[in-house]
Symmetry: C2
Subunit: 692 residues, 2 copies
Amino acid sequence: MAPRIHPLISLSETETNRARDIVRKAHLGSVLHFRVTFLQEPPKSELSKFLALEHSGRLHEVKPDKWPRRLARVHYDQLSPGSKVPKSVEVLVDLDAGCIASTEDIRVGAQPAHELQDVGAICEVSKLFKDRVAKFNLPEDFELVAEPWPYGGLDPADERDRRFMQALIFAVSTKSKNPDSNFYTYPMPIIPVVDSVTRQVIRIHELSTGGDGDPYTLPDGHFAEHKLHYQQPSEYVPELLSTSHRTDLKELNVVQPDGASFTVKDESLVEWQKWRMRVTFNPREGAVVHDAHFDGRSVLYRLSFSDMTVPYADPRPPFHRKQAFDFGDGALGDACNNLQLGCDCLGVIKYFDGVLVGADGTAKRSPNVICLHEQDNGINWKHTNWRTGRAVVTRRRELVLQFIITLANYEYIFNYIFDQAGGITVQARATGIVSSVAIDEGKKASWGNIVSPGVLAQNHQHIFCVRIDPAIDGHNNTVVQQESLPLDFDEHTNPMGNAYRVAEIPITTAGGYDANVATGRIFKVQNLDKLNPVSGKPVGYKIIPPTTQLLLAHPKSIQARRALFAQKNLWVTSYRDNELYAGGRYTLQSVDEVDGVADAAARRDDVRQKDIVVWSVFGLTHNPRVEDWPVMPVEIMQLHINPYDFFTSNPAIDVPPSKNAASRNFGSGDKNGSCCKAQEGEIQNASPHARL
Amino acid sequence: MAPRIHPLISLSETETNRARDIVRKAHLGSVLHFRVTFLQEPPKSELSKFLALEHSGRLHEVKPDKWPRRLARVHYDQLSPGSKVPKSVEVLVDLDAGCIASTEDIRVGAQPAHELQDVGAICEVSKLFKDRVAKFNLPEDFELVAEPWPYGGLDPADERDRRFMQALIFAVSTKSKNPDSNFYTYPMPIIPVVDSVTRQVIRIHELSTGGDGDPYTLPDGHFAEHKLHYQQPSEYVPELLSTSHRTDLKELNVVQPDGASFTVKDESLVEWQKWRMRVTFNPREGAVVHDAHFDGRSVLYRLSFSDMTVPYADPRPPFHRKQAFDFGDGALGDACNNLQLGCDCLGVIKYFDGVLVGADGTAKRSPNVICLHEQDNGINWKHTNWRTGRAVVTRRRELVLQFIITLANYEYIFNYIFDQAGGITVQARATGIVSSVAIDEGKKASWGNIVSPGVLAQNHQHIFCVRIDPAIDGHNNTVVQQESLPLDFDEHTNPMGNAYRVAEIPITTAGGYDANVATGRIFKVQNLDKLNPVSGKPVGYKIIPPTTQLLLAHPKSIQARRALFAQKNLWVTSYRDNELYAGGRYTLQSVDEVDGVADAAARRDDVRQKDIVVWSVFGLTHNPRVEDWPVMPVEIMQLHINPYDFFTSNPAIDVPPSKNAASRNFGSGDKNGSCCKAQEGEIQNASPHARL
């Protein structure tokens, strides 16, 4: 028997191709179009036993045939002989047994990912589209480009089983003959809708280019006009920039003369500064962290970006259909950037590849979809004894696991950041080019901001959901809401009025919960069966829910119905295998959030000392600034997951204080570069005063 | 005439000593005790004219005798012949004219800083104290140490004109013979109160060491007992640590082969990446930023940490008197750490000295009280053209101005961070040792957490106030509250329910305002007289008020009365010279906040297009974790001040994309170290699809 593969390691190219072969064999005669193939993680009941044996060094006791089976989840379209409409199929393939283990029940109307690239090709050959474009009377030196978008927010008249896509249309200036000239600065006022099965443009929306006070739609038979005569170039690639680059930025290098402090085994097991975790990649969630331990103790079973939604708030139809679910809509794997050395982080960098599939199901390696590196983030802890002048200061080193996605105009940077004190920061950075539409000269619109002449950037939100599957010293955990509440004066209990009360309420039932700034609300995930020997309180971690605005769309709007997850700051649910996606398994063309976190919460399960999942929701209401154009500076959002009476002291107290010998005084003429070994920190001027 | 000094440059040692001489000469025969001496900044009406000339390159037009006068603000105690009680005096000394220009009116009861160090000495010789200590029957190998604290929250019976201090008493283990052994782990249950004028211990509070359900005070005649028999060592200095240091942290150096990207002139004028500002130091606010311009345009007139308060919530008297105002209580200058190369930041570092005074008024140079350096903070902006695969990515370089204070057990790290896109982040990091009191074995207390056997860390808050004196393209500015609000369905204005409304309300009257997460409330500081040529909206910066809990103490408690500033997230006031301190000019022994931001707001001045000041309040409700012991990992709080339609595009669009040549692949064997010149970023795999 072949050497066994750790059950969390992502599918290899060989395994992916084996899954392809098994699926093909089962559908001889049909035309298959593969969407995604990735590892089906073993059931938790099975995997957690395996991991326990692994952590206790007893894996050798597991007989080869008792290892968790390697399963592939494969999603594909099947066009049976004689049929014109493909059927969407999702199966689990048993790679060990060489057969399809089960066929998943896909609900009616659930849509697989569609061919984004096809949208342009379909427009290109469409007479409807070509006739409409001719009416624009495009100036010389301009061509058109179609930017495929998911068709969010079906209208009641839309047949749910059809596969729709929409395209935002832009003009490209051909003057520069540079294929990276920024076309988003020339939005065109039409949106074609295509049927990706029949490969036809089925209608073209004429967009209003008016502002406040203007009608939302054009009268029937009217055609919107382009604004190219006053829209302006807005370049970002260096060779096209209208201003020259600033020249006074000197080089800053991160140099690690002895290499990185982390180790990586099996291309998945990462160990660093008492942390130990498995890192995997899949085309639905990007980078995923599994089985995270600190100092030999279990903290998390699984940590992932579960979902996100980006609803646009322009009230004019069909802009309600601009609502992306960048994880759930199905193209995340292809959207992951192939990172390059020295571009997306500094220092010593480990890159992880991902395995995607082509339409024929064949594995294709996507290089460098995740990067791993260390960074310095200022002071970790410091204390100066003012009596002796002795300062002890340590620096805060962090381990960063990063992946970046590009979705048409926009970029998201996702970071899982681990620190030396047992803390985790989950960070999302938004950058890229804000979505733009055309607006008449001299007008303003309250649903957006003019970021360049004739270019309106529409108001929108980005709402993320991070799925935290905790394992605080075991799988039975409880979420406890902690609040700090004011108290009335009371002769006996608050005689001076300075006291406040810390109220702790365990969450007993699955549901959605709100943040509350006024009460300083935090959520602890505790293991009530294990007490901290110092404080006597249950061991735990705290989740500080980022206090950001939730979804603004009307609760009865299709935008809100599709994204129930985005309407609470924190969800607590009981664990079920495969319940991974807050917005539901299939978000493309969804009308309601189905099988998402709201459905899981609606079971109202008992969540006291159970195997639970915590979902943290946060985001950004993005009313664009002119400064966001043409490429926006990062907006940074962060979620903190920190120990709270989990350890018996500061877990970073053993970080050696050091005096960095590579640092240099400004203007000393002594340029830095070489490195010496660490020595202890500063001694300050001693105070003359000592003890009694 | 001597060459003129820029009117914002802090007083030199020579000027400080000249101020001393002028004051002494005016008080021949009196005994003087100097507290602080620092630059009195010129009135804004005068300084802003001067700065306008400076920015237009016309300073040579200003005749030497028309330069703003150099004034020193000097605060001292005067003991007149025959008097036993010193009088507190604050004067402005005209250094040019060589005379006292004015004597400030100090309100009754306002207290100067007291001698912190004296508290220990007073206890040491006090019979009352020695008799009490004898009752402890201290074990061998323990000595006592007195930790001076301000006497916050006077009781009604306390005479306001007396100068009180209190001391927290700790035992020091002498076993290790190490003067840096952590004594905070042995809190003793007494608090002596001293009169620092009569130099007597006037009473000793016996502290309850009980927990929930126990009486808050000891019966008369009872003496609290120490807990040294079960309190434990909690060391942090390397040589005393019970565990050895982790050994797997490899060196990480920041190397700037061509030096720093900033320049510093006159030890105060800093220029970096289109930013230009004056940096000064004074013993009341630490580092202050003045006259900040970006790309030649005025953004801020002045930026400072104005105040902070740290109220403790242990309901048992006299703990209501644990309430520090670390800026206002008067010892900030001496609390500033003397930073050392390689300890508090990495890379090429510029240090600034400060000038303090001794009791005799003589200048003493405090080296390295501020440091200035650059840091890399990940990606700045990125966009990948998915059609061509071309990625353009720039890194986010930041300029960090840092100072650190130590107040007895605790440390605060303050950072002003400037970025390349015109943004400012004001950051406070809390670290150091949490304040501790003794608790009986086996008990718990709801007002704190047990962080080590017999050691209770009391719940408390840290509330900061940052004073922002904006100058958005001039001094007449308006604060506009912006909210994003849900909308009902409406056939005409919100037919699909996806729209939300951005409501903007100018603040017309000075006052205190709240943050509101639910409405996504932000505050723009706009110049209504100047429109952004692209968006047509007034130019401005936005302040995102950190949504943190405000002061919890009962509004009628002395803690709350002393800190009105801590009860609103944002204050807007009209500008007045010398109105700098949110908690009032003298916080030591204050009973109410006097002449603080609440009083300024109470003028209810018109603040539409006026010279205004914005005060941002944020903080941390700190219910200690076991992990905060013995030295806590930093807690990071941040305030963001970002352009909002101030510029005509992303001001960082001209940051050159680069591929860092010093970065290395993990495990490549090619250790990094040397540096090459920047080159452009990555090219990703090109998509096969191109234009229509």
